[in-house]
Amino acid sequence: MSIRHSLLALLQDRPRYGYQLRVEFENRTGSTWPLNIGQVYTTLDRLERDGLVAKDGDDGEGHVVYSITAEGAAEVRSWFAAPVERTNPPRNELAIKLALAVTLPGVDVQAIIQAQRVASIRALQDYTKARRDTASSQRSGDTAWLLVLDSLIFQTEAEVRWLDLCEARMVQLAAATAARKTSNGVTEDAAPLNADSRR
């Protein structure tokens, strides 16, 4: 998440002081990403150093008010215009774990897949419940939280579908291995992928 660009975008709306920025940010994003006030001031200092915001006096109660500069406004425009970059390739512990598991003897890949599937479905249940509760409550600021929940639901669903595919591949692979052994005259079952041995 870019705090820098988020604060700039809020300042484009109108000049604000640090604490106002924090409250405004949390309101507009459904308190999804709590922001600590120290981060806000550090970021404002850097934005000022880079010429993207300028101090604009105080509000009469001792709060330093910041306003956006022309350079800052241009920065906000290009932030909104540019797609968020994907880290390439995304680090995915699950994919790494499975990739290693299939190459190691004696690892029950099906058991790993099933354990992950249960955990993912449980998370999906929680997201779905939270989404249902949020959709029925109609509070302001919920729109952002709904967007986040939708995103989590889609990501988790994709993970489960990928796990289903991995499992189907394992089964195909085990069947192909068994068929090859049979045609070679080897009959003993040494396939490490068969999870039935644990039941």
């Binding site: 999804t32 990403w33 099933q114 599937r117 249960v118 955990a119 993912s120 479905i121 449980r122 998370a123 999906l124 249940q125 929680d126 997201y127 779905t128 419940k129 939270a130 249902r132 509760d133 986040v148 989590l152 639901i153 988790t156 669903e157 489960v160 579908r161 289903d164 499992e167 189907a168 039935d196 039941r199």
Partner: protein, 245 residues
Amino acid sequence: MSVRGPQQVLELAKVSRTFGEGATAVAALRDVDLTIGAGEFVAVMGPSGSGKSSLLALAGGLDRPTSGGVFVESTPLAGLGLNELARLRRRAVGYVFQDFNLVPTLTAAENVALPLELDGTATKKARRQAADALRQVGIPELADRFMDQMSGGQQQRVAIARAVVGQRRLILADEPTGALDSTTGQGVMEVLRSRADAGAAVMLVTHEARHAAWADRVVFLRDGRIVDQATAMHDPTMLLAQAGL
């Protein structure tokens, strides 16, 4: 075996179902224990051939187990004759099938009222309850339409209305979102969820994780056995931490 309490709507106790005999026998279900309470929504997931649909057929008395017992509201289905079983199905159990199973020559309201009328409910009362069920699924205005005048999503809502009409305490759904787009599919889940929240026991067979996630409990079947169950934590404060936000 667990104790059969008054809140328990469905119980499968050590249920096995084998098709065929001898060397060619196929065990579709093996020693399955599963109970669903009033107000509980359970989803059953598993790969093709894992026994999902067999489980649903046994739960609704459409099929009988090779061994073990099926109880609907403490009534053992094995003790019922065919007529009694049909009566229990019409009164207490609602089904939603993937291919709807609606009668094309009847209107939406007539389709929904059919099980009630077959069970002896006066036509007027049955139609009133049908209108109520169609309202619950969000299509009261389509009561007089015939099936060929409705979209797939609308027909599926009629099928769900027929499954929930009257005081059905057990609702069984087999891939009810099969042919539907994702928005309509979500609508189906909302109806099933609201029936469970109103006190019905709901069992949904699905291969879609996002639909199973509407359930209180997800049961995983493999090779005819229950291998895992997932229950939601219902702790929203954990969600963000899990998501790394």
